[in-house]
């Protein structure tokens, strides 16, 4: 296989609230190849944004990264010192935030905010050099150079998002995480912004994790798609496989619910509700809503396993390994390239 630029192993992010503990990201593992575009989809509360925050190591109280490894080019981000991680942000891995509406400091000019990123990562230039650099970068993402001296409220949503992209690529990171970059924009602007992102990514040769819930967007942009549900990664496969032959029941329902342009159909949703993460279901998190649930589903936690073609599913229907029901037992099956960790706790 191609080199992995990002390898996530057994990531566990828990929120310790006064109401209880909440596993927002529960034993998630995946790899990302160089220049690959991975789309991460899931309902609200599935843990995708928490995952993004965790990759940047910016999880805030009362959340905490409890376990796992995040290997960026072999280096575990979770082992870095605070200062090293601070430096890694923007230079190795960067995040384009959700809703750049409020992500820009309202009382600073655009160029000053962009320049701040450079300054704090050791780049030193003269004032005019900085300004020129900012203007050039803005032009590269398709904005007029005048934007540099403007304030955020003077820009439209799409323009602000492009500024965010510009800042995100300014120090040439290897991995770019885009957290729902187009959610608040209208369709036409969405397309322009996605194009900008694609172009920027290709120029840089960076890998992208695109988080969202718009399957249409994913279809156009992503190479691979990962599906998250209740804090777990339930399926991950190439974009073709996800759409053409989804394996996990949740993915199947998801794909089936997409309205078709060809036929007129009744709207199909997914019955039931997202589970409360404070009181999660036993065994597989999806089993209460799953039309194909079998006996083990309420008892054993399924493990992510590979089917053909790098398609991975976490579901008892395809069990080659039986999953686990005991925190101490290990369920590893070495010839299967299983990426699941065996010390994540069982829900019971």
């Amino acid at each position: 296989m191609m080199e992995n630029v990002l390898e996530v192993k057994g990531l566990q992010v828990t929120y310790h609230t006064s109401g209880g503990t909440l596993k927002a990201v529960n034993d998630v593992s995946f790899t990302l190849n160089k220049e690959e575009r991975l789309g991460l989809v899931g309902e609200s509360g599935s843990g995708k944004t928490t995952l993004a925050t965790a990759l940047m190591r910016s999880v805030r109280e009362p959340g905490k990264i409890d376990d796992g490894e995040i290997l960026l080019d072999g280096k575990d981000l979770l082992q870095l010192s605070d200062e090293e991680m601070r430096h890694a942000r923007s230079t190795e891995i960067s995040m384009i935030p959700q809703g750049a509406m409020n992500s820009l400091n309202p009382v600073m000019r655009i160029q000053d905010q962009m320049i701040d990123t450079l300054r704090d990562h050791g780049v030193s230039k003269s004032k005019s050099e900085f300004r020129k650099w900012a203007e050039d970068l803005l032009v590269r993402v398709g904005l007029p150079s005048e934007v540099a001296s403007m304030y955020p409220h003077e820009l439209s949503g799409g323009m602000k998002q492009r500024v965010a992209i510009a800042t995100g690529i300014s120090l040439q990171p290897k991995v770019i995480i885009a957290d729902e970059p187009t959610s608040a924009l209208d369709v036409v602007v969405q397309r322009e912004v996605m194009e900008t992102l694609r172009q920027a990514q290709q120029d840089l040769g960076a890998a992208v994790v695109l988080i969202g819930h718009d399957m249409g967007l994913m279809a156009q942009f992503a190479d691979r798609i990962g599906v998250m549900y209740a804090g777990k990664l339930v399926e991950i496969a190439s974009v073709w496989d996800i759409f053409e032959k989804p394996q996990h029941p949740y993915t199947q329902l998801l794909i089936a619910s997409l309205p078709s342009l060809e036929e007129k159909e009744v709207f199909k949703g997914i019955p039931g509700r997202t589970p409360s993460l404070l009181n999660p279901p036993t065994g597989c998190g999806f089993h209460p809503r799953c039309p194909q649930a079998i006996e083990q589903c309420s008892q054993l936690v399924p493990v992510l396993q590979e089917l053909e073609n790098r398609q991975m599913v976490s579901c008892h229907l395809y069990d080659k390994t039986p999953g686990y029901d005991d925190p101490t037992s290990s369920s590893g099956n070495e010839d299967m390239n299983v990426n699941g960790s065996s010390n994540a706790a069982l829900q019971n």
């Binding site: 940047m56 910016s58 109280e61 601070r86 430096h87 890694a88 942000r89 923007s90 230079t91 960067s94 995040m95 935030p97 809703g99 509406m101 409020n102 992500s103 820009l104 400091n105 309202p106 009382v107 600073m108 701040d116 990123t117 704090d120 990562h121 403007m150 304030y151 409220h153 003077e154 820009l155 439209s156 323009m159 965010a164 800042t167």
Partner: protein, 335 residues
């Protein structure tokens, strides 16, 4: 900043000035019994003695000027006219022009109030910002309780405690007056030191209480600011901690902080007046207290009017400056 906004602000300013003038005019007249001013004048004339003739003259002038035998609205108009040229009348006690009395006291008050408020604002804001920022060291956050207590106390009460501790019990600083009796006023070291020593206690009283309020407000602002998206984004970009604190945190918190200051000008002034009175500090406060006790109405009303006027002016200035500092309002929407 739109023309509308400016017009409205100036309009309010004028209304405030007019309201202040009218309060000083109508409330005494609404008092049960005789017009208190006339009453005081007549009483004074009846006292006779050395002041007798002068009082009669003043009473005559007063009657002529304000036409006490003329209909109310004419009196009112004349009164407003006098105020417009800042003619505040003559003191019943010292016969000097009220304006002169005020001007003599004004520098003291401005010096004390100005420095105290400025220090309270600067120190209080930074203290509050440090306490409120979630990444500050824990021991700083212990400062909350003391800050809390200081803001709960009106400055003149704090002043009493300070006097007791520092002037009476430990005799570190002097109490009362603007400078040491016996020191000849002049711009020399001894005099200036004397002034500073005497101003120290009242200033401390004002600073300590003001600081507490500013710190608490700033802490609240910074704490809620911390959750803003642009702070998270700044962290995600890997910006240095101090930069985020100063330029993305405090800088943004100063704007609402200024609004709070503008709103609290009234109570700050009120507190300072009483502090001065308690400390017999030669500013407007003491003059007001003496005038109240001596029923020297022109001085009372003159000082009250001036204070209200000053606050109105400061509020107007702050209202006009604020939009200039906040680019969201200054620049408006272009695209």
């Amino acid at each position: 900043m739109t023309v509308d906004y400016v017009i409205r602000r100036i309009g309010i300013f004028l209304l405030v000035v007019w309201a202040a003038a009218s309060i000083n005019f109508f409330i005494p007249k609404l008092a049960p019994g005789q017009d208190p001013i006339l009453g005081a004048l007549l009483e004074a004339t009846q006292d006779g003695g050395l002041a007798g003739d002068a009082m009669l003259d003043i009473a005559d002038q007063y009657r002529a000027k304000y036409g006490l035998d003329q209909p109310l609205y004419i009196q009112y108009v004349r009164y407003l006219g006098d105020l417009a040229v800042l003619d505040l009348g003559v003191s019943f006690v010292s016969f000097s022009s009220v304006r002169d009395i005020i001007l003599a006291r004004l520098p003291w008050t401005i010096g004390l109030l100005g420095t105290a408020t400025l220090m309270g604002f600067i120190f209080g804001s930074f203290l509050g910002a440090f306490i409120g920022w979630p990444y500050s060291p824990r021991f700083l956050q212990k400062f909350i309780v003391p800050s809390f207590m200081f803001s709960a106390v009106p400055p003149y009460l704090m002043g009493l405690v300070l006097v007791w501790l520092l002037a009476v019990t430990f005799d570190v600083l002097p109490f009362g007056g603007g400078y040491q009796r016996g020191v000849i006023p002049g711009w020399d070291f001894e005099f200036i030191m004397s002034i500073l020593k005497h101003a120290a206690l009242p200033a401390m009283a004002l600073v300590v209480t003001d600081l507490g309020v500013r710190a608490l407000v700033m802490r609240g602002t910074i704490l809620s600011l911390f959750g803003e998206d642009y702070i998270r984004h700044a962290e995600n970009r890997g910006l240095k901690s101090w930069r985020i604190f100063t330029w993305y945190g405090v800088r943004n918190a100063l704007l609402p902080q200024l609004t709070w200051v503008a709103l609290s000008l009234g109570s700050v002034a009120g507190g300072a007046i009483v502090v001065e009175a308690v400390f017999a500090y030669p500013g407007l406060g003491t003059a007001l207290l003496a005038a109240i006790q001596g029923f020297d109405f022109p001085v009372v009303f003159g000082i009250v009017f001036l204070i209200i006027l000053s606050i109105a002016v400061m509020t107007l200035l702050l209202d006009l400056i604020y939009p200039l500092i906040d680019p969201r309002i200054a620049y408006g929407k272009k695209s």
